[in-house]
Symmetry: C2
Subunit: 333 residues, 2 copies
C-alpha cells in the first residue's frame, strides 16, 4: 500500500479506503479511485490478511477438527463445511485428529494460537474437558456428529436413535429376533444413541435383549471384522446384524465372506451410514443414510451466523433425520 500510495502520490489511508470499497463512504474522487485501482492491479497487489487480522482482531478463519478425513462420512462433511465457509469469506484450517485425543487437544491449542474465529469439532472421544475449556473461554464452538450431554455447546448430529430404531425394526419385521449389534466406540454419543435405538426397537417389538449379542470397540473396519467373527462364532448365533459403525459393516462383510456365510440367506445386515458404492456391494447393502451435506452446512451456518452476529444460535441442538435405504442385504431367517 505504501508503494502504491507513493506512486499515485497520495497517502496510504486513501489507498486502503479505495481498496476496501470504502471509497464512497469517504467520497473519494473517482479519478483518484481509478488511479489507485489501476496501480494496485498493475503491481499485482494483494492485501496482507495477516496484518489485517492483527489490526482488526479477526482472522476470518475457522478450524475444523475431524477424527479421520479419509473416512467418507467425515470427508463429505468437510467438503460441505469448506465450501460453505469459503462462500462466506472464511478459510478453513483442517486438523485431522487421527482419532487421538491428545492430537485433538494439541490441535485446539494450535488453532487458538492462530487466532481462529471459531471452531467446528467432531470430537474424538468421551473426554470433554479441553473442549469445554475452549468453549468457556468464549470462542464460538459447534460440535459435529458427537456431543456431550453435560456441556452446553451447540451441536449438529443425525438422529442416531431413530435411525437405529428403524433399522432394527426393519430386521424384526423381516422375522429376525436374534439380532447382533456391532458397535463403534462404546461410550461415544452416536454409539450410545444407536444402542438405545436398538434396545428400544427390541423392547417395543417384544424381543428380549441379550448383552451377548453386543460386540465392538471402534468405528473401523478391522473392529467390525473381529466383532463379526466373534458374534458369528458363538453359541447364540444371530440371524441378523446391525452395524453401528459405518466402515465397520465392511469388516462384517469381509468376515462373512471368509466364513462363507451368505448374506442375506444366512445372515441379514443393516449398516449405519450410506456409501456411493453400497448398491454395488455383494449383496447391495441396506443402510441408514445420514445427511452429510446438511450436517456440514448446518454446522457451518450455525458457527458463521454466530461469528457475524456475536450471539450464539438460539436453536443450539440440531438433530437431522436419517433415512432407511432398503437394498438386498436383508432377508428372512
Amino acid at each position: 500500500m505504501k508503494d502504491i500510495a507513493d506512486e499515485v502520490g497520495l497517502s496510504v489511508s486513501v489507498v486502503s479506503r479505495v481498496l476496501n470499497g470504502k471509497a464512497d463512504e469517504f467520497r473519494i474522487r473517482t479519478e483518484t479511485q481509478e488511479s489507485v485501482r489501476k496501480v494496485a492491479h498493475r503491481r499485482g497487489f494483494s492485501v496482507n490478511q495477516i496484518a489485517r487480522g492483527l489490526r482488526l482482531n479477526k482472522s476470518h478463519t475457522i478450524g475444523l477438527l475431524i477424527p479421520d478425513i479419509s473416512n467418507s462420512f467425515f470427508a463429505k462433511i468437510a467438503r460441505s463445511v469448506e465450501n460453505f465457509a469459503r462462500r462466506k469469506g472464511y478459510s478453513t484450517i483442517l486438523c485431522d485428529t487421527e482419532n487421538d485425543e491428545d492430537i485433538e487437544k494439541e490441535s485446539i491449542s494450535l488453532l487458538r494460537d492462530r487466532q481462529i474465529d471459531g471452531l467446528l469439532i467432531a470430537p474424538v472421544g468421551r473426554e470433554s474437558k479441553h473442549i469445554g475449556a475452549v468453549f468457556d473461554s468464549g470462542l464460538p464452538v459447534v460440535l459435529l456428529d458427537r456431543f456431550f450431554d453435560h456441556l452446553d455447546i451447540p451441536y449438529v448430529t443425525s438422529d442416531n436413535y431413530r435411525g437405529a430404531y428403524e433399522g432394527v425394526c426393519h430386521l424384526i419385521q423381516n422375522g429376525h429376533s436374534k439380532i447382533g449389534y456391532v458397535q463403534g466406540i462404546p461410550d461415544s454419543k452416536p454409539n450410545l444413541e444407536r444402542l438405545r435405538g436398538y434396545k428400544d426397537a427390541l423392547r417395543d417389538n417384544g424381543v428380549s435383549f441379550s448383552s451377548a449379542l453386543i460386540c465392538g470397540q471402534a468405528f473401523d473396519e478391522r473392529d467390525g471384522y473381529s466383532s463379526a467373527k466373534k458374534l458369528l462364532d458363538g453359541k447364540k448365533t444371530p440371524t441378523a446384524l446391525f452395524a453401528s459403525s459405518s466402515v465397520g459393516a465392511l469388516g462384517v462383510m469381509q468376515a462373512c465372506h471368509e466364513m462363507e456365510i451368505k448374506i442375506p440367506a444366512e445372515l441379514s445386515l443393516v449398516a449405519f451410514d450410506e456409501y456411493p458404492y453400497a448398491p454395488l456391494l455383494s449383496p447391495p447393502l441396506t443402510t441408514i443414510s445420514q445427511p452429510t451435506d446438511e450436517i456440514g452446512e448446518m454446522a457451518s451456518t450455525m458457527l458463521l451466523d454466530w461469528l457475524e452476529s456475536g450471539r450464539r444460535p438460539e436453536t443450539a441442538e440440531k438433530t437431522l433425520e436419517t433415512r432407511l435405504v432398503s437394498r438386498q442385504s436383508v432377508g428372512s431367517p
Copy 2:
C-alpha cells in the same frame, strides 16, 4: 506478553525470549525463566501467531488445493499431507476447488492474501496460467497427481502410464482383444498417461487400436456410467473395460448391473485406484492401486524441505509405482 511482563516486573523482551526457548541464548536467570513460565501458564497465555507471522513474515501455513475432498483418493492424500505438515509445525488450509477452475484461481489468490508459505495443488484442469503465475512469483508450489509439461513445477504423481499398461496387459493375457477405455478428463495428465499406457499395451501385444473404444469426459461416477452404456451398446461391443477414472468404475458396474451384463462372465473390468471396499464389491474388483499416503507424504516433504531450506527440491519429479491387485472382475472372453 505485556501483561505477563508487568506481573513479573520485567520487560516484554525477556518474556518473549523465555517463551520462545531463547532463554539460554540470552542467559536469562533461571528464576526469571521460571516465574515467567509460571505466570504465562497461569494466565493461559498463547502466542498470537498472527502477530508473530506479521513480524517474521512467515505464517507456518500451507495451502492445499484439492478438486474434491469427498473423493477417497484425495481424502487420503489430504490426510497424509495434513498429518505430516502438522508434525512439522505447519497448519493446512484446505480448499476444495469443486473441480472448478475458477474456484481454483480464486482460492489461490485467497491463499496468497493469507500469506501462506507454500502451496500444494492437485490441479483441476488443463489451464495452467494461474498456477504458473504463482510459481513464477516465487511461492513454493508442488503439484499433486496432475502436472503440466510446459511448466517447471515440482510434482508428485503415481506412474499412470505403467499402471495402465500393466492393467491392459493383464486383460490381454486373459484373452481379451476388444478392450474399451473409460477415460477421465480427456486432456488431464493422468488420463493422457493412462491412455498412452493403454495404447502401448495394445501395440506391444499386437492388438489394434480403435478410437471407437474410447469414451468418457470426467473423473466421476455419472460419467463412468454413461460411458459404459455407450460403449456396451455399440456394434463393436468390447469384452473388457479399463476404467481410468477411480470412481468411474462404480458407474461402469452400475451400468452393467442395469443392463444385466455379468462381470466377469460377459465383461471383464479393471479400474485405476484402490478402495477399501473393492474386495467386497460384486464381483471383487481388480484394481491398479496407487500409493496415496506416499503421494501425500512425498509432496509435503518436498514442499516443507523447500520452505525450510529455501532451495527447491533437486529431484523435482517424483513418479510413484502402482500395483496391480488382481481380484475377480477379470475373466476370459
